[in-house]
Amino acid sequence: MRDYSIEPSVVEGKPTFRQIDELIGAPLEKMPDKKFYIAISITGTMFLTGIICWGLSFYYGTGLWGNNNPVGWGFPIVNFVFWVGIGHAGTLISAILFLFRQRWRNGIARFAEGMTIFAVMTAGIFPLFHTGRPWLAHYLFPLPNDHSLWVNFTSPLLWDVFAVSTYFTVSFIFWYVGLIPDFANLRDRTKNKVKKVIYSITSLGWRASNRHWQHYELVYLILAGFATPLVLSVHTIVSFDFAVSIIPGWHTTIFPPYFVAGAVFSGFAMVQNVLIFVRKVFNYEKIITVDILEKMNKIIILTGSMVGYAYAMEFFIAWYSGNQAESFVFINRAFGDYAWAYWIMVSCNVIFPQLFWIKRIRRNIPIMFIIGVLVNVGMWFERFVITVTSLSRDFLPSSWAYYKPTLIDGGILIGSFGMFFTLLLLFTKSLPVVSIAEIKSVIDGAQPTHHHKEANNGK
């Protein structure tokens, strides 16, 4: 029998502090290798495709997209919800697991937070361009203007503006506060003068003083405490964009928990996918262990089952409510024009993740990678199904239509992946992707044993 009262170390192999510094600092000191250039040229090309399509949309307007009546919310909103969802795993790992004192999150928190920030940046572009005149987007905020008219504070779309911008700002602050001690570490180890100036500025003159650590730790805890309800509120409010309207298939109270579970689900799949590469490329196998990946897979199966439950419950309520429009929409989702998208969604989100009940699959890296990719495909299609099927079959049969995205839509979708991964690649080469201070604090023997008093008395 395994003794579960003894927590196994989250870092394998008992490295010394110096080894940790060298391991985590290595990618920042070496010139990028060939693999890096290949990777960034692929993501850079994707990003460039996106920039061209964004530029065309900027100049010629939203008429280049497939959006039209009745589907006014095509790809841009699907992609927005998808990317905001990806961001949610980062905050869950860095804030919620921190509050639950899950020490294994220390090795992956920094990276996941970075993914949050880049995902929210990517997501933010879509509503910006969906306004049609991105250069007037500042009017989304309540600015005093010539018409003395204010924004509508009772609209979920405005709540979204506040939620996403607050989410980005707080995530960024949380990330930066975590980086300060690491910048000080890099400042004191670097031999390059330019880097030293940069790290001196960014570390703000951190002195690793315990009189500072004391306040710092409390503030970190407070930020985690704020970020936790914040992350739940963000996707809740995103779901309000749908649920507060009266379109059949959207107007349901299950949306907020369903969206949050889905966001964590897809976000964890994305974090898991990227970490598999990061641990391999930078030799972080002992910091980002298979145990950690297994724990993430457990969260994927939990949230995946919650999403599956939500799908079933939507169908049940559509039938149980006796509402004709509602039950039509759900039957149409499963057997109508978009049935292909619906069944991609169900198989990727509900069926494949259930394989993680088997321990060997949970710990097998190639298989978990494939399942992670499938989960993200499924979650993208979930947003597609919700947005497009409901709008294409609204209350007025005369306006029904089949939504077809254009090439520009596809280019922007590719570009969003390009932007996200380009930013991630640059991040791995410019900042420590694992929190040096946090990982040191969970190495075996790093914390006091509190036996010294007895030892001294024995002397």
Partner: protein, 379 residues
């Protein structure tokens, strides 16, 4: 470097156990101004150093409540008082709909405020000129060792004693840190003022370009320059070069059916009927409109005795036998199309109001010349 001032004496330890032990001894020894520097927060060190608990939680509370108040007051000002907008019949202060934004602003302000207070007020950062920076001690403390720093400001401080004390505790690499003279960056130098002027020119130039030029270039001006005919402009499309077109003959605006019997007041008297019920509400409406539009000439009681009676073709009384015998429709025709010097009042009073005025005139006629029956009815 002559007058070097001692900042502190420092020593390094290898393990967390040792640093806890050392800090307890430092406190026991009565040192007040000292510090422990560690690469990561060590559990139990706050107790060993006998530090007071951190007040940052109260800061977060105050900043958060400030955010709540700002959000709620701002939204109330904008949506309830400054520009009240009826949205779907909801109240002008819809608290449930204000909750999301209130929550977000609370979290935003609490996070930003707490972190700024921590870094810039509590830690007094950025502080890159601190004496400890660039010392061997600091380089070890941010990476792999645990250090004790006994500061020279302490009353008990004595360089030799401090060194001996640290040695006794088992510290390694004991050394003395000297203060550095802080360079005050010169502000009023030519370079700095030049930099300021340059910045001002660039920013104002960019602002001028963006707001006065860029916003009038494509695609930003496409909203203004559309393929459409603007009012008061010459049309190149229509042969008569008028941009405004004549209405199609016989066009009637919505809700403005033309009045009948314009040329035949007698037919109006014969065929038009007062559609209103004879009741208090309609009489009250008629009174209000009569006093506004009719009384200036006809007088408050319709006796034709207004202040215009001497310097004007005398406005007739409405209590004459002719008027009493006229039907409602005949009076309606006069109000609608005018008669003699009286102009049309069709633009000033609506159809319904005209009929109400007629009811009021009938009321006046009866009130000023009551019949026997009226008195009997009163008894």
């Amino acid at each position: 470097m002559e007058n070097k001032k001692i900042y502190s004496v420092v020593g390094l330890f290898d393990t967390a156990d040792e640093i806890i032990h050392a800090s307890e001894k430092v406190v026991e020894n009565g040192y007040k101004k000292f510090d422990i520097n560690t690469p990561f927060p060590v559990h139990g060190l706050n107790q060993a150093m006998k530090l007071k608990s951190s007040p940052m939680g109260y800061f977060a509370l105050v900043f958060g409540l400030t955010g709540t108040a700002i959000a709620l007051l701002t939204m109330a000002f904008m949506m309830t008082f400054d520009y009240p907008l009826n949205i779907g019949g909801k109240p002008l202060f819809p608290l449930p709909a204000f909750i999301p934004v209130t929550f977000e602003v609370t979290v935003l302000l609490a996070s930003i405020g707490t972190v700024l207070a921590l870094l810039f007020v509590f830690f007094k950062m950025p502080h890159n000129s601190h004496p400890l920076h660039d010392s061997n001690y600091m380089k070890k403390c941010t990476t792999e060792k645990f250090g004790v720093c006994l500061e020279a400001d302490d009353e008990k401080f004595n360089e030799a004693d401090a060194k001996a004390f640290l040695e006794k505790l088992g510290a390694k690499e004991i050394e003395t840190i000297y203060t550095v003279k802080e360079d005050v960056p010169p502000i009023f130098t030519k370079q700095f003022i030049g930099f300021l002027v340059f910045t001002v020119i660039v920013i104002s130039g960019a602002t001028y370009f963006v707001t006065n030029k860029l916003m009038f270039m494509p695609p930003f001006n496409w909203m203004m320059d559309q393929h459409r005919v603007n009012v008061q402009s010459v049309s190149t499309f229509f042969p008569d070069s008028f941009s405004m077109r004549e209405k199609v003959e016989g066009t009637v605006p919505r809700g403005f059916m033309p009045e009948e019997y314009k040329e035949s007041p007698d037919s109006a008297g014969k065929y038009l009927q007062n559609p209103l019920e004879y009741n208090e509400k309609n009489i009250a409406l008629g009174k209000k409109k009569f006093l506004t539009y009719c009384s200036p000439c006809h007088g408050n009681l319709a006796k034709g005795d207004s202040r215009l009676k001497d310097n004007f073709p005398k406005p007739p009384t409405l209590h004459s036998k002719k008027l009493k015998e006229w039907t409602d429709g005949r009076i309606y025709h006069v109000i609608t199309f005018g008669q003699g010097v009286m102009p049309s009042y069709a633009k000033q009073v609506t159809r319904q109001e005209r009929w109400a005025i007629i009811q009021y005139i009938r009321t006046l006629q009866r009130a000023l010349n009551p019949s026997e029956e009226d008195f009997n009815g009163a008894k």
